[in-house]
């Protein structure tokens, strides 16, 4: 069967099928022209609407279904629901009729954002009536810093910022559509629009008793421009009726029946399967491979080599070259590539690297002067006057994300068009890569977005799309489904950089710090010192110096859940515990006093968090031998006066004499800012990050031997299970007077310092390097 697709055939066949250019359908060839591939019921990618859209976010069908287009990617964080809630709040539609669908990254390349989305209303992070403090970078074709004026503005899903960056224009999108629906009804009835009300998709003219529905008026609304969209105001939290209520996530029903179509589930007529091996040492490439050795294996079609992806497509990271085996089924391709001899060309410097050398290099770099980021007072003078000096060195390993869905993408390249089915946290970047690799303009790249089986940091920042596009580009006309094995997924990813920190404090005679020096070290391109995660003490110390130190390694690093902040909060909060113990003071009261001494704008909020968490946990009440509590502050932005997220947690930990740790109970006091969009999603995010940082604290580490990652499956990179989940999690919220930064990645980092301190309280042993699993935790 010929699988060569031309644009003309594609257009002809879908037009015949649907009367319009319909994306999400794909035609294999003319012979099947009248039998388009049905969109699976669990598919969520963009589809051209059958009725005209009211605006780029909203389509209301005659049956009252409200399609809300989502430009962020659902990977478990609830954005499918919270983005829809922000639109629906203002649209005032019937929530039970809402059906989210992914926005089109292709239209995003073709259309400009409406003017009314470009200006942020209000006065920043402390104005409850405004749009908060969204951040858009400069125009950047790769999408790395966003493409601020493209149709959907921000299509990235990162930095826990989907609500912070998108709220105002998503609310505006809902409001603009509502106003146009009202204007259309007013014109139809020839009454002033001010006499109409809209609720639950029904428009009512009270004095005449007339009413209509969104479904009936939507087509007219689509033809009714708003004369002054810049005058439309968004609702402030005191006016919310949907936002701020707990809403079950709209993607859940399909996820309990197995119907959700993830990238791995995409099937196309004529599709071939690709199993891949990339050089396990980054920077390596294929020297030779012997396809003849596997040529006759069942289902095997060919082998396709691909180079090291162009770093401009991978944010400057250097991954590996490799080879794919193409077969009629994936298991055939995988079985064959496992037996195919492959030789690699590996840069000798990279091949010589192992974890111990890297630790030595970090230790050498941190001893250098480094780059001073913050300095106030006279640190050396403070140390000279101190009654007691406390010093500690902490370290954190490389860490993988280990999402559950291995990397995959289904790609069809033709001479004038690229179609990609993928779960993707950065479709604007993938669009750029597809164009760069194939030469097809971005306007002709169609990304059919799928839900992701976990992301935890821009789904790996790895080259899954780029590899698949490079393979399919050599098989133009044939759709290729590339799927990584679990082991390959540990190669095609970036890591959180390993880190080192040296902290030194001088305490006065009462035990209060009068001087503090903090040094942190990560590799140069690691998201840590170079990405402004300033570990500036939130605790008052009159003489303070913070410096960052770097070295170069070949392991590609990127934004893993918690980013550099997770490591830095481990360092900072562990050291606070050490200082409190050295001072003979209660670690909760010690923190409290040092925050109370500051003049930080959000001081009261930090104190509130600490007090609430302590009170919730029964802080100070006796615990049996073998159990301990530890407290920590978690905040982001609390040093400034803009957006911030502030919480405190108390962790109650037990440790058996045999050294078995159990996180028994977690008490969380968390600020809501002016309001949480979906408090249920927020609770789930906190629960999820309790598991995440428990794993970071107890189990996980990535080590390097001979230049490659050692832990490449779950037998060596352990994931905790039900049996380790804390039996009790208590979450309480308190209001604060700013907009939040976000929820999805740096909550519950305190588990790291808390387990470390509990181990110390119970055993007297202080461990300063993660994970704790590798230490002897027994006691008697």
């Amino acid at each position: 069967m010929s699988t060569d697709v031309t644009r003309r055939e594609f257009l002809a066949t879908v037009a015949a099928a649907h009367g319009a250019f319909v994306l999400g359908f794909w035609m294999p060839d003319k012979t099947q022209a009248q039998t388009p591939v049905a969109r699976p019921s669990g598919a969520v990618w963009y589809e051209e609407p059958a009725t005209p859209e009211v605006n780029a976010w909203i389509v209301v069908a005659p049956d009252e279904t409200v399609t809300i287009r989502i430009a962020q990617t659902e990977l478990g964080q609830g954005v499918w629901t919270s983005n829809a809630m922000m639109v629906a709040e203002e649209l005032q539609c019937d929530w039970t009729k809402v059906r989210p669908q992914y926005a089109s990254a292709n239209r995003d390349a073709r259309e400009r954002a409406p003017e009314w989305t470009l200006k942020v209303p209000g006065n920043g992070a402390t104005d409850p009536s405004g749009g908060g403090e969204p951040t858009f970078g400069d125009r950047d074709r790769t999408g790395v810093a966003g493409i601020p004026d493209s149709l959907y503005r921000r299509m990235r899903t990162n930095a826990a910022s989907s609500v912070k960056d998108g709220r105002y224009y998503l609310q505006l999108a809902g409001a603009e559509a509502r106003e146009r629906l009202l204007l259309a009804a007013a014109a139809l009835w020839n009454v002033p629009v001010t006499e109409l009300t809209a609720k639950d998709s029904v428009i009512t003219h009270r004095s005449s008793g007339r009413s209509t529905t969104y479904g009936r008026i939507a087509e007219r609304a689509a033809q009714t421009p708003h004369p002054h969209p810049e005058t439309i105001r968004i609702k402030s939290p005191d006016q919310w009726t949907l936002m701020g209520t707990e809403r079950k996530n709209l993607d859940v029903p399909l996820k309990v029946t197995g119907q959700t179509v993830y990238g791995i589930d995409v099937r196309l007529p004529g599709m071939k399967w690709a199993a891949v091996k990339a050089c396990p040492v980054y920077g390596g490439d294929v020297k030779r491979y012997d396809f003849d050795a596997i040529r006759t294996m069942p289902g095997v079609r060919r082998a396709v080599q691909f180079p090291i992806p162009d770093p401009s497509c991978t944010r400057g990271r250097i991954f590996s070259g490799g080879v794919a085996v193409i077969a009629d089924s994936w298991y055939q391709a995988k079985t064959a590539i496992d037996r195919m001899p492959i030789e690699w060309t590996i840069p000798p410097d990279n091949a010589a690297v192992n974890t111990a050398m890297m630790q030595d290099a970090l230790a050498a770099a941190i001893a250098q002067p480094g780059r001073v980021r913050v300095e106030h007072g006279n640190v050396d003078g403070g140390f000279a006057r101190a009654a007691k000096i406390v010093e500690a060195t902490y370290s954190t390993p490389y860490l993988a994300r280990a999402r559950m869905e291995p990397g995959n993408a289904t790609v069809l390249v033709t001479n004038d068009r690229v179609d990609i089915w993928i779960g993707d946290q950065s479709p604007q970047e993938t669009r750029f890569s597809a164009s760069k690799i194939t030469g097809v303009p971005e306007q002709n790249v169609y990304i059919h977005l799928c839900h992701l089986g976990g992301g935890y940091g821009r789904n790996g920042n790895g080259p899954q799309a780029e590899q698949a596009i490079m393979i399919a580009n050599q098989m133009r006309g044939t759709p290729v489904h590339m799927l990584w094995t679990r082991e390959e997924d540990f190669v095609g990813t970036t890591y959180r950089a390993m880190g080192l920190a040296r902290l030194k404090a001088g305490l006065d005679a009462e035990g209060w710090p009068i001087a503090l020096e903090v040094r942190t070290c990560m590799q140069r391109d690691g998201f840590g010192p170079e990405a402004s995660f300033d570990v500036t003490s939130r605790y008052q110390v009159p003489n303070y110096r913070y410096s960052t130190h770097t070295t170069r390694f070949h392991i590609p690093v990127g934004t893993r859940r918690g980013v550099g902040q997770a490591a830095h909060e481990f360092y900072r909060e562990s050291f606070m515990n050490e200082l409190a113990h050295a001072a003979g003071k209660d670690p909760y009261q010690y923190r409290r006093e040092l925050i109370a001494r500051t003049n930080l704008p959000y001081k009261a909020d930090m104190l509130k968090a600490l007090d609430m968490a302590a009170e919730m946990s029964g802080w100070g009440t006796p615990l049996p031998k073998g159990k301990a509590r530890a407290i920590a502050l978690e905040e982001r932005g609390a040093e400034g006066n803009g957006s911030a997220t502030i919480s405190a947690m108390v962790h109650t930990v037990s440790l058996s004499r045999e050294g078995k740790v159990r996180l028994e109970r977690v008490d969380v006091a968390h600020d809501t800012g002016f309001g949480l969009v979906n408090p249920l999603s927020v609770k789930k995010q906190i629960e999820g990050q309790i598991t995440w940082f428990y794993n970071d604290a107890m189990h996980q580490a990535t080590t390097i031997a001979d230049g490659h990652v050692v832990e490449n499956n779950f037998n060596r990179f352990p994931l905790s299970r039900m049996a380790e989940d804390p039996p009790e999690i208590n979450i309480r919220f308190f209001p604060t007077q700013h907009w939040l930064i976000g929820m999805a990645h740096d909550r519950a980092t305190s588990i790291q310092s808390a387990i470390g301190d509990a181990i110390f309280q119970i055993t007297g042993k202080r461990f300063r390097d993660l994970p704790f699993r590798k230490h002897d935790l027994t006691w008697s």
Binding site: K248, D251, V252, K255, Y262, M404, G454, K684, T691
Partner: protein, 152 residues
């Protein structure tokens, strides 16, 4: 080699190497994609299905061992989400990314079939699937609710 598999009560004729793991036959030959691939070594449980009423990790079992035995996948629990275990999952909004949840539900369903009133210790021992999003807290509550609903 051609053989018949009985999946969710329907007979499917399949032509595959008998050593092919059951997972890939279910996903790629039969086309039921609710069962997921993740580790390929029987560690994580994303591929859990029932064979002859027992929860097994289908990535590590040759398809030949399932011939002639009833196979149950997530699609066979109920396609409309009306089974008590699915209702309980929805009540607690348990899934996050959802990728592991088919396997998690299948493991929990096997437990509930054996032990209609499971203790937390039973759950710890029998539901050993990995979830990277950290849904364990809600999954545990959902299993207890499902036990209540299934007894009614």
């Amino acid at each position: 080699m051609a053989f018949d598999l009985t999946i969710n009560g329907s007979v499917h004729s399949v032509d595959a190497d008998p050593q092919t793991p059951l997972l890939w036959v279910i996903r790629d030959h039969v086309g039921l994609t609710g069962t997921k691939f993740s580790c390929g070594i029987g560690q994580c449980g994303a591929c859990t299905v029932h064979v002859d009423g027992r929860a097994i990790r289908s990535c590590s079992v040759p398809v030949s061992t399932a011939v002639g035995k009833p196979i149950l996948t997530i699609e066979g629990v109920s396609s409309d989400g009306s089974h008590p275990i699915q209702m309980a999952w929805k009540e607690f909004d348990a899934p996050q990314c959802g990728y592991c949840q088919s396997g998690m539900i299948m493991a929990a369903l096997a437990l509930l079939t054996d032990r209609p009133r499971p203790t937390d210790a039973d759950i710890d021992a029998r539901v050993t699937n990995a979830c990277r999003c950290g849904t364990y807290h809600r999954v545990r509550q959902a299993i207890h609710l499902a036990a209540d609903l299934m007894r009614k």
